[in-house]
């Protein structure tokens, strides 16, 4: 075996990975909605170029920040197609509000108001709709925001799966926030606000396809209290935030590593994971690092602020299991590595394919 040959092959692969390519898929598949590589290709190679990619759009942040009469306003939009509509720990109405609030929170904006647009399937039970609207109202109240406008459409039977919800959210950028997906610097630390993979596993088990009886609840919650606590504790040291939804922790960290040109190294044994969630993932052959959360955040913070940032995360409700799980290194740029408990390191790539469709 020639080590030189292998090295040359590895360099060839890295060149191929960096090469910009046109969008070549002839049809949309579920993989394009999974939040991994196919989703990124669709956005970066088709949607942004065809839209004429302005600076805001091309940044691919969770929300855009617009200057409106001297105020920085954050704006985001989201849609929710989860099946089933209700699952342990949450439902589509609650998810729609929390998911939108979290996109605003991830750029450092205090959520202000949102709109709710409903696509209802002919035959949906009124009581099911009433429950979801009540769930959305309760989530909005708990997040301290108002639902200010909406729209309703009804489509024929089989043209939607019960109901879909589309939202637009606006928030006011906290003046202390200087967050960017490209913010990570070598030496920074990586924090997570709680155990991972719970939402994805809860929804999957709720479909009853696996006949697994584990008691796992979705982690859906508003992340603004956690972000506000971080901004209070260490405004200067807070570099980047992401909520690891579709594509999971692995895909979110790859986005941050690529945007910042750094390596992110995760200590596998430090990542909080409930035994039932880990067990379900193990049985199904799915790496929990690729499974969605709906109420967790990943924070990149300066090393000297990591302690206060962790204390801040633990001080908010639902944050008792927040943990420091890794660090930023200079090389290999744009790559996420996992340091295994076994003592080796491996690459943690972005999600490929679609293990769990329609989870949010």
């Amino acid at each position: 075996m020639s080590a030189g040959g292998e090295q040359a092959a590895l360099e060839r692969i890295d060149r191929a990975r960096r090469r910009p390519r046109a969008f070549r898929d002839t049809h949309i598949t579920t993989a394009h909605g999974a939040g991994g590589k196919a989703t990124h290709e669709l956005i970066e190679r088709l949607l942004v170029p065809v839209l004429g990619g302005g600076e805001q759009l091309a940044a691919l942040a969770d929300a855009a920040v617009l200057g409106v009469g001297g105020t920085s306003v954050a704006m985001t939009t989201d849609s929710f197609v989860v099946r089933p509509l209700r699952f342990p720990g949450g439902s589509i109405g609650e998810l729609a509000v929390n998911g939108t609030v979290n996109d605003l929170a991830m750029v450092g904006a205090a959520p202000l108001a949102l709109t709710l647009s409903l696509v209802l399937e002919e035959g949906l039970e009124t009581e099911a709709l009433r429950q979801e609207i009540a769930a959305a109202a309760a989530a909005a109240k708990s997040a301290g925001i108002e639902i200010v406008a909406g729209d309703t459409k009804v489509v024929g039977r089989d043209a939607a799966d019960g109901m879909y919800i589309c939202t637009t959210g606006i928030g006011i950028l906290d003046p202390r926030a200087a967050l960017s997906p490209a913010g990570a610097r070598p030496g920074d630390r990586l924090l997570v606000s709680g155990p991972i993979a719970e939402h994805g596993v809860a929804v999957m088990l709720a479909r009853g396809e696996f006949e697994l009886g584990a008691a796992v609840c979705s982690d859906t919650r508003s992340l603004w209290p956690a972000v506000a606590a971080l901004l209070d504790a260490c405004p200067g040291g807070l570099r980047s935030l992401r909520d690891p939804t579709r594509g999971g922790v692995a895909s979110a960290l790859n986005e941050l590593a690529q945007a910042s040109g750094t390596a992110i190294v995760v200590q596998e044994e430090l990542v909080p994971l409930a035994p039932a969630v880990g067990g379900a993932c193990e049985l199904l052959g799915i790496d929990p690092m690729y499974v969605a959360c709906e109420g967790r955040l990943l924070a990149i913070v300066a090393a000297e602020e990591a302690g206060v940032a962790l204390a801040a995360l633990r001080s908010v409700e639902g944050g008792d299991e927040a943990a420091e799980i890794g660090a930023v290194e200079p090389d290999p740029a744009g790559i996420v590595l996992v340091q295994t408990a076994f003592g080796s390191r491996r690459v943690l790539d972005m999600l490929v394919g679609d293990p769990l469709p329609r989870i949010c």
């Binding site: 030189g4 040959g5 060839r12 949309i28 295994t340 076994f342 390191r345 690459v347 394919g353």
Partner: protein, 375 residues
Amino acid sequence: MRFAAEYRDGTIGRAIARRLADVVDPDRLYKLMEICGGHTHTIYKYGIGSLLPANVELVHGPGCPVCVIPMGRVADAIAIARQPGVILTCFGDLLRVPGSDGTLLDARAAGADVRIAYSPLDALRIARENPRAEVVFFAIGFETTAPSTALTLLRARAEATSNFSCFCNHVTIGPPLRALLDSPDVFLDGFVGPGHVATVVGSAPFEFIPAEHGKGVVIAGFEPIDVLQAVLMLLEQLRSGRCEVEIQYVRAVTAAGNQRALEVMDTVFALRPQFEWRGLGFIPDSALRLADEFAEFDAELRFGVPGVRIEDPKACQCGEVLRGSIKPWECKVFGTACTPERPIGTCMVAAEGACAAYFNYGRLAAGARAPEAVG
């Protein structure tokens, strides 16, 4: 996790690694093949290569069920899926395997009803819930998964589920190993044997390897400590001049195997005289079809299956990877034209495939290791 964490303990791993260094003869090279794709996955996921002495090399064998499916069978499955009223069910990995005209995922995007089944029983449930559809299960795998397909067909017959059938692609582990050992470009010193297959077939079917070919076999479990211990046991065989079948995976494997599983397979399946393997060509007596008494559930008889044979793409070197004669990174298209997102060869599709495992887990470890591996 309890009962798994013990087998993932890095301290024990490093202790075994030190023993390995004592056992090897520094003046020779060792080439050991792990037969099963599950082992390949473990080796890359836990970076086991970096714990082995520099002169011990692990070669990836033909035991990944998705990787050995020839393109023609995928094209046949797509042809079935495109027939009106058919729901084709299969394991998720199969969706992305390219046939001559796209993948099952592409067929689904173009309108075919293709669904992921998590087990053959799951496919049978889909048949029960969709009585007006024809539900076909695209069955693949070695003796590991064949018993559950067999049990499902027994249940389908007992329940008289007439809208269920099976497109059977089950294969057996012995014949490809014989073919591999008979081919001239393979130089191996021993085998890490497939633990899951052996829980069903037992260790006896591997006895021909020491008896006829003079190579040792250690049947191993799938945690990193299992694989390291199996390598140690193989190296100890070589040092002491022994050559036999040993079982490292004693918590699951016996010499005789699982009699009940073997019986149901015997009832439901019959040997095919020939079957094509991706990259390995046609191998006699290497695959299973439904036995005549189960012909009513045979999708190949129920549907007009084209049965085409499709040459592997010219650039694809899956065959050489599966025979262990080249490493994944030595393939001309590895990592450039052939990636996990757009695989050309099957070895890049399933997580157990040697190429996908190397792409996901191995490439960086290899890069870090390269300087000391020189010479």
